[in-house]
Symmetry: C2
Subunit: 331 residues, 2 copies
DNA sequence: TTAATTTTCGGAACCGGTTCCATTTGAGAT
DNA sequence: ATCTCAAATGGAACCGGTTCCGAAAATTAA
């Protein structure tokens, strides 16, 4: 591997001149040619460590993600990556395997590695997060959760919840089980539910019960089975698509037909909801687009340009077979 | 951010002494204490660029992946990442969005960034790959494809194909459509088919036809629909789970019931095959474990220890509802 | 033609570590 | 008390770039 000094010697100039050539300083035409030739001849390419050492900065955006094997995460990452590439930045992924402690470590580690910025696919913001973000002086962007102290890009959970509520009511459902998650997750656990509640409060003949379960399918399946026996709702409104899948499995095992005997909705718009049969009605979020937007946002922050503190990403209700129209049913 | 010089001054020693302390050289007890205190006091942590610049090497393994939104890819990455962390290495992901040219670029880019090693989740090995691997002098490990010139970790595609063939025959199926992919993909397109063919050749009353489609669900769905009409097989043996999902969709839209009217099998063991109903019988590969094994393998190569050239990862036939036992059916 | 600019270029310092080498220090042996 | 030898330490060079500064060369103005 050749160094800038090799090039300088080959071209018969000083290495400062080569550096200037590389970075667009003033270089004479004749020397330009010589350097150019020396570079193509050797296939020279600057050592990024030497550059970063001097610059005290990289063009890498560190992205912290709680898990890699989730549709939302991978789509978001793809969006971030593609957009960053276009802007000549690199993405570095740190997978924390849903371990909050590792998230904190990653923040410090990224700062130490002189990342230009940090994107966190957030699930929960603890005091330790805040402390870490404040002590490292690196621009930070949260995706998926909002926090007054930091820039963030969120999905429109509240309105998605509201829209889903309206949708379900319009289809004629009144006996409803809302299967949510812990309120520590503001976006998924609180906002979606609040939006849904608002829709419910606009009608008055509703029998709605709120339940809480975990994010994974087996847990949702267990919860759903219990709820079916104790409440027998006409529809499950689930806070995530995975939970909806759990409900689906529970209803299979209980011999309940969807959507005739029980309807189900989700949130997320995961691919799988469209692949399976019956397809699940869901509020689709645009993860990839959100990732692209996040990439643009963090670069604005890196370049210290002003940018609004919170961006809201769109959603869309996707109607599939898992919800019937009760109003069209024969009496 | 403090530097090693700050620590040296604070502790009243030379920076070489601090460096020695950090790297386990001989340092007196008294000075050890002083340095230790200075470090905790300032929260010092060495600049990785300065280190890498001097060392001409990093402890990062570059991993090139054709796509992030695939079960196989994300599981493999998780395995690699977790194992590397344990061994004090880092993983850097380069997503190429199924663009072979980008794979080549990534190889050179990784070499330039002084990666300790490169792992490629391979789909196809072209001459350009070979050229790139040979010109950069970085240890390389292929996952998923075999090549005589390079180290590789492959799934046992041939035997999985064979086992699947045996399984299908044992269940009594004789009118079989094998829905495969391009032979440019040696593992998926050739090996699985060869194994399957071997099983078929051991019986003689078989009506098997071989078809080729693409990796994505809609393409598989279209192909399946045509095949259903022209051949009407009793079972589809699909080269991947995604193709099997395409067949499932096609049969829904054609009003064909699974497994009563048509059986389906896949390869991969993707999560979704167990979530949906009916579950798909599939040859499950152990992607995460393969990733862990790959991580260990590449580190062996990095440390120039001898290691066998090709490792074969296990598989397991998972029996689900998408295949009936014809022999148990009432006549 | 000479003076005043402007452009081009080389030298040296610097970024923050590691490592080699020479010197000092201290413990143990004689 | 003196000599050895190993451990402990400091100084300097080096990794491969960038950037500042001043000198030299080329251009323009007078």
């Amino acid at each position: 591997m050749s160094t800038i000094l090799d090039i300088a010697k080959l071209a018969g100039v000083a290495k400062s001149t080569v550096s200037r050539y590389l970075n667009g300083g003033s270089v004479g035409e004749a020397t330009k040619k010589k350097i150019e030739q020396a570079i193509t001849e050797t296939g020279y390419s600057p050592n990024p460590f030497a550059q970063s050492l001097k610059a005290k900065k990289t063009n890498i955006i560190g992205t912290i993600v709680p898990r890699l094997d989730s549709y939302a995460a991978s789509q978001t990452l793809i969006g971030i990556d593609e957009q960053l590439k276009k802007m000549n930045y690199q993405m570095l992924i740190s997978n924390t395997s849903q371990n909050l402690e590792r998230e904190i470590e990653s923040i410090y580690s990224f700062a130490n590695q002189k990342m230009a910025g940090i994107i966190l696919l957030a699930t929960e913001i603890t005091d330790q997060h805040i402390e870490a973000f404040e002590s490292v002086k690196v621009p930070v962007l949260l995706i998926g959760q909002e926090h007054e102290d930091f820039h963030s890009l969120i999905h429109d959970d509240f309105h998605a919840g509201y829209a889903m509520g309206r949708y379900v009511l319009e289809k004629g459902y009144r006996k409803i089980a809302y299967l949510g998650v812990t309120e520590r997750d503001i976006s998924v656990g609180v906002k979606r539910k609040q939006g849904f509640k608002k829709a419910i409060q606009e009608v008055d003949d509703c029998d709605v019960r709120f339940y809480e379960t975990l994010f994974n399918i087996p847990a949702a399946q267990t919860s759903a089975k219990e709820i079916i026996h104790e409440f027998r709702p006409a529809i499950f409104v689930c806070a995530t698509d995975n939970i909806a899948l759990g409900v689906l499995k529970a209803s299979y095992s209980e011999g309940i037909t969807i959507p005739q005997d029980l309807a189900v909705t989700g949130f997320g718009g995961y691919d799988v909801t469209g692949i399976i049969h019956p397809g699940i009605t869901t509020a689709k979020f645009f993860y990839k687009e959100a990732g692209e937007s996040a990439a643009r946002h963090i670069i604005e922050l890196v370049n210290e340009r002003s940018v609004e503190k919170v961006t809201v990403s769109k959603f869309e209700i996707i109607e599939r077979e898992s919800v019937d129209n009760l109003l069209n049913r024969p009496l």
